[in-house]
């Protein structure tokens, strides 16, 4: 230990408080790491993400932008492609479908996930809390398409494990269950089942981040569980809720796998032009109109960006504490 003493001053001068028992050389190197080398390491760490974002995010978006304002032979088309897709008889119904789905899904997701996270957090029995988080999370471990495959069976009253429940709602066959009027709710249930568990775990983490002193202070002031939740926990989770809103919104506007698979499984009773993304897909691959497809994608991008900006502003996501 004596050997470390002479170095303490040097490391202190470098702006680092040495820890006892640490070798002076390591402490010295740590101080170097916080200078430009570490600074550069930061860029190395984000570079992987940046490259992927450029290749699979920014570049395709720019390519879509170019396609959306050009004709099939590459000449400038102005807003013709946009006018074409906006005038398509399938466009407005698809917007309606996605909008209704988004409203039902986002509201139920925000309310139920926060509520379930609060409940799970309030459970004081350790194993029960752990088990419920684990159970909530399991469906999320299934990949998107495979979980939809599973739901094809759940939604068919004749083979469904909850067939009695479907029959109680008056659905006697698969086609009745997936009647177009029921679809927003059906997709919400599927999306909630696959996605909510992960969010409950994240919200649980957010609740754990609320300092114990604050919670204790509330308790001493006589706040009951509901008051604590509304006055303390919810405001302190605001950013997390906004984050969930943005991520879910981005995923929700891109509704594709669920209707596409249901469409194939139901032999097209669920239309293959149900959502906007499906319509873009049809434009590209059935009508061979990549420009029209790109126009739909750009419209989706603009709407998603606008809605995300709303969530960012309202959720104070980019504000510093």
């Amino acid at each position: 230990m004596t050997a470390t003493v002479p170095d303490v001053e040097a490391t202190a001068a470098a702006g680092v408080t040495p820890r006892l028992g640490r070798s002076p050389r390591r402490a010295g190197r740590a101080s170097v790491r916080r200078s430009p080398v570490k600074n550069r390491m930061g860029y190395v760490f984000v570079s992987g993400y940046t490259v992927l974002m450029l290749v699979f995010g920014v570049f395709p978006a720019l390519y879509a932008l170019v396609l959306s304002v050009t004709t099939i032979d590459g000449s400038f088309a102005g807003f013709d492609n946009f006018a074409k897709v906006l005038g398509d008889y399938r466009f407005l119904p698809a917007v309606g479908h996605v909008a209704v789905y988004l409203v039902i899904w986002l509201v139920s997701l925000l309310v139920l996930v926060v509520l379930l996270a609060l409940v799970v957090h309030a459970i004081r029995i350790r194993w029960l809390s752990n088990a419920s988080r684990f159970i909530f999370y399991i469906p999320g471990a299934l990949a998107g398409a495979s979980s939809v495959m599973l739901w094809l069976f759940v939604l068919d009253p004749s083979v469904s494990p909850v067939g009695w429940l479907l029959e109680a709602f008056g659905f006697e066959s698969f086609v009745q269950t997936i009647n177009p009027a029921n679809l927003p709710v059906v997709f919400t249930v599927i999306a909630f089942w696959t996605g909510a568990g992960g969010w409950i775990v994240i919200m649980y983490g957010a609740l754990n981040n609320i300092p114990e002193e604050v919670m204790e202070a509330a308790k001493i002031d006589g706040a009951n569980a509901v008051q604590t939740a509304v006055r303390i926990q919810l405001p302190m989770m605001k950013k997390w809720i906004a984050y969930m809103g943005i991520m879910s919104l981005a995923a929700g506007t891109q509704l594709f796998v669920e209707p596409q698979l249901l469409s194939q499984a139901s032999n097209a009773v669920v239309a293959n032009d149900y959502s906007l993304n499906q319509l873009a897909y049809l434009y590209a691959f059935q009508q061979n109109d990549f420009n029209g497809s790109a126009a739909i994608s750009i419209l989706l991008l603009v709407i998603a960006l606008a809605l995300s900006a709303f969530f960012v502003a309202r959720g104070g996501l980019f504000e510093k504490d």
Partner: protein, 458 residues
């Protein structure tokens, strides 16, 4: 505790240069994409521009799972022809993957398979057409590539879906015209006589509903319901009059009479709105299917299938399609696969050899094809083989007799008629509505769909 590191550059400037760089990279990539190579093609002897031929080069063959047997049989018969077999979904159930993939290859200007199997009958409608920057994918077959005697050997009318503007672009694998399937044992047991007209069929439905409720004489819950009922009634749901022209009239007398028939029989329960491939259909109707108008492939897919009705041997028979009183017998068609040769193939000789083998040879068509061969000579042998199997009650002459009765007024446009029906009519009739009430809406949906796919609607 962590000190902010000293920065030599402002982060904003760095970000800006990064953005500039990425923008430049994107533009460079774009330019590279636009400058994609152009194919060197010369006008070929068969009616389409050929690429440079390379004898003995490996051909790529796309088949679905069921048709792997055709590729295996070809390999066994032609061990010296190198082929690379790729399995895909066969473009089934409206996945449209055949067209999807080809359009991507058209964009990339390379990668096309040499031979493609499709479960759809309407692919020639797009595969025969030029796409921007690329020649039609499908090679014209009757311009000398395939012998004309071979093409003439197909059952009359069976190549209609492959024919665009008078040119043949694919070979039909199997026929799928509708016949009247019936359970002879049940008919004998109930003392009923087999209907020959749609009027008698409707009367039978009323009798069954009152005397033997729970038994059915048809199913209308599938996407191909219009191809079984409406097509056979000569309903003008989509007459493709030119490459991109279509006539639609779903409110005609022909459509209305069949809609009434369906509404009556669905209401009294003698025709079900369950899909024949749903588990509940098997649960409810195993042993209770008295009759069912449907395609020839229903025999293997529904009646003689352990996964479906699994009717014992000696009960099921096939009768000539129904007709309206006083009219000629015509029938509809549900699917029937097709074989395509790529016009981009660098080994047309091998590709032709494969397609001719798959579509006409006894080794595949008679021995292995689960459906009724479209190639007439193979079809007769196939029917004889089925009759010998002892499964069917009575002879199967109805299968061959009806092969050329498919009404030609129902075309094969680029879009799926089945999908339009499934979207507009199926949800209505499964929730208590009537076909009659949706006829107009159905017609409008077909017209809309035709228009967005570039058809001039008449």
């Amino acid at each position: 505790m962590v000190q902010a590191p000293e920065r030599t550059h402002s982060p904003r400037r760095r970000f800006r240069s990064l953005a500039l760089l990425s923008g430049a990279a994107a533009i460079a990539l774009l330019a590279a994409g636009c400058a994609g190579g152009s194919s060197s093609a010369s006008n070929g002897e068969f009616g389409f521009p050929e690429t440079e031929q390379q004898a003995d080069s490996t051909i790529t063959v796309w088949v679905d799972n069921t048709r792997v047997a055709a590729a295996d049989a070809f390999k066994a018969a032609n061990p010296d022809v190198p082929i690379d077999v790729v399995t895909y979904d066969g473009s089934a159930n409206g996945s449209n993957s055949f067209q999807t993939k080809i359009q991507l290859f058209d964009k990339a200007k390379k990668g096309w398979p040499d031979v493609v199997w499709s479960t759809q009958t309407n692919d020639a409608a797009w595969a025969s057409q030029t796409t921007p920057g690329s020649q039609p994918f499908a090679a014209q077959l009757d311009g000398g590539l395939v012998d004309s005697e071979l093409i003439d050997g197909f059952t009359p009318g069976s190549l209609d879906p492959c024919t665009v503007d008078g040119k043949v672009y694919c070979l039909r694998n199997d026929l799928a015209q509708n016949v009247l399937w019936y359970d002879k044992t049940l008919f004998d047991q109930f003392g009923y006589t087999l209907p020959t007209t749609w009027e008698e069929y409707q009367e039978l439905g009323e009798k069954v509903a009152s005397e033997h409720p729970g038994y059915i004489i048809g199913a209308a819950g599938d996407a191909w319901t219009p191809e079984i009922y409406m097509w056979a009634s000569k309903c003008q749901a989509g007459d493709v009059t030119a490459v991109r022209e279509i006539t639609v009239d779903t409110t005609s007398e022909e459509c209305q009479r069949m809609a009434d028939l369906l509404d009556t029989t669905i209401a009294n329960g003698s025709v079900t709105t369950e899909s024949v491939f749903s588990p509940s259909f098997v649960q409810k109707y195993a042993g209770k299917v008295l009759a069912m108008p449907g395609p020839v492939w229903y025999s293997g897919a529904i009646f003689n299938s352990p996964d479906s009705l699994n009717v014992p041997a000696g009960q099921i028979g096939a009768a000539t399609p129904l007709t309206w009183d006083g009219e000629d017998v015509v029938t509809g068609n549900v699917g029937g696969g097709t074989w395509y040769i790529s016009s981009h193939s660098a080994n047309l000789a091998s590709a032709k050899k494969f397609v001719e083998f798959a579509a006409t040879s006894d080794e595949y068509q008679v021995e292995l094809n689960p459906g009724l061969p479209a190639f007439a000579a193979a079809g007769e042998k196939w029917v004889a083989k089925q009759a010998d199997s002892g499964y069917f009650a009575g002879d199967l002459s109805a299968l061959t007799d009806s092969a050329s009765l498919v009404w030609s007024g129902w075309g094969s446009p680029t879009f799926s008629q089945e999908a339009v029906w499934a979207k507009t009519v199926t949800p209505v009739i499964t929730s208590g509505g009537t076909v009659s009430d949706t006829l107009e809406e159905w017609g409008q949906a077909i017209k809309d769909q035709a228009q967005v796919n570039g058809y001039k609607v008449g």
